[in-house]
Symmetry: C2
Subunit: 275 residues, 2 copies
Amino acid sequence: MNIIRTIEELKEMLQNKNRSVGFVPTMGSLHEGHISLLKKARLENDTVVASIFLNPTQFLVGEDLDKYPKKDDSDKKICELCGVDYLFMPDITTMYSKDEVLVKAPKISSYILEGETRPGHFDGVLQVVLKLFHIVNPTNAYFGKKDAQQLSLITQMVKNFYLDINIIECEIVRESDGMAFSSRNVYLSQNERIEALKISQSIQLAAKSIGNGELECKSIISKMDKILYSNEIEIEYIAIVDRNFQILEKVELENTIVLVAVKIGTTRLIDNIWV
Amino acid sequence: MNIIRTIEELKEMLQNKNRSVGFVPTMGSLHEGHISLLKKARLENDTVVASIFLNPTQFLVGEDLDKYPKKDDSDKKICELCGVDYLFMPDITTMYSKDEVLVKAPKISSYILEGETRPGHFDGVLQVVLKLFHIVNPTNAYFGKKDAQQLSLITQMVKNFYLDINIIECEIVRESDGMAFSSRNVYLSQNERIEALKISQSIQLAAKSIGNGELECKSIISKMDKILYSNEIEIEYIAIVDRNFQILEKVELENTIVLVAVKIGTTRLIDNIWV
């Protein structure tokens, strides 16, 4: 595996346009979720590029940019074991300069749910993803369904900007007790970790209710609310949307995502299920 | 020459990645200025693509979008005679959809000069140029120096977003009396056309003064102001900037652009000279 720090070097390495390139962009602190993306990329492409870049423009003032977990050595090891060919690890001055041309997420869909509590977050996500797409020029780019709204907006950007890239949606990977893997799970105390189980339990209940024919979103959300009720959990939102992130009143089978965002202590956690 | 209306068809035509592609994006109403871009593109590339798209997002409310001159038949003829291979003429629903991911021009350099009187104009320019770049994927893209600030911002976008495209800066083409070609010249009455000559005279005087060793911008601007003084001419700005559009106090040789924007009647005209 080659570790690459500069854009010129990476572009040089990827000059052969006849090979398919799979790309997995990350912010590091890799876990089983990322590993599943890397393995899928390895299976489906001639060349695999992963990137690790803790992107400052997607963090709001006061968010956890400074304490975001860093695990460079184990990240490199994981990429190597997953068969990554090129691991791109740029520093911030490589990726950004002053007073730049910016990307702005769509008004409506980027200022609800995640965007409501994190205004501007998706502008930063799309900005860095667009840059990385231009640098790597991948055939296929892999994103987890866990960040469902991010995935939806990246898919929209590719469509709006006419990029020739396939966005591959990858399933959420969970621990044996159902908890979705997340780089932020390490922030949780033992007690908080137990409380956090209610998150995946709530969406699994939603899926089960829907399976049993319950389609009224209000009623499903109310059941989830009951499961999540706890002194330790502050619910940011429970929402049921279609694949384009339009809020639904009635579940549309094969076109619905049930979303939860909570805070446990100071840790913000999200989860979702696609039905 | 093939006239192409859809993105899919154009991408299909341009699949051969081993041929160099020269691209000339326009809003139609082609004149000698455009012809010089097309000829240069023809000389320097295997394949030449031109586009004609009157881009609504770069016009502000109340500007001349509706009355912007349209000359489809002569435009097609000109492209054919200049050796264009593919003329891309999309309609608006091909290029835009609702609530899109947007491009935002840099705060500082896009809100001075042209951007001051036309706030948001450059956001629209960069948005459509980025889309067209992704669709055509050109080796070389040709822009005239007449829209100097636009050229500077497009160059910056290519740099900020790491696009693999050479931006080719092309000289301003003038009528025999010095007037720069512009699609908007057709708006001028005979009398206004005579008054408009003062624009090119003012920048030619600036260039001459600089040639004679005058480097104080204040003094140069004052001389230009005198030439432009007229009941028919409303000066929007006279400015002297470096290639990055930083306002200069002293001329920097080989790094200076002298700019003028005026209104004559209801017609807005710009011109500049690079020294």
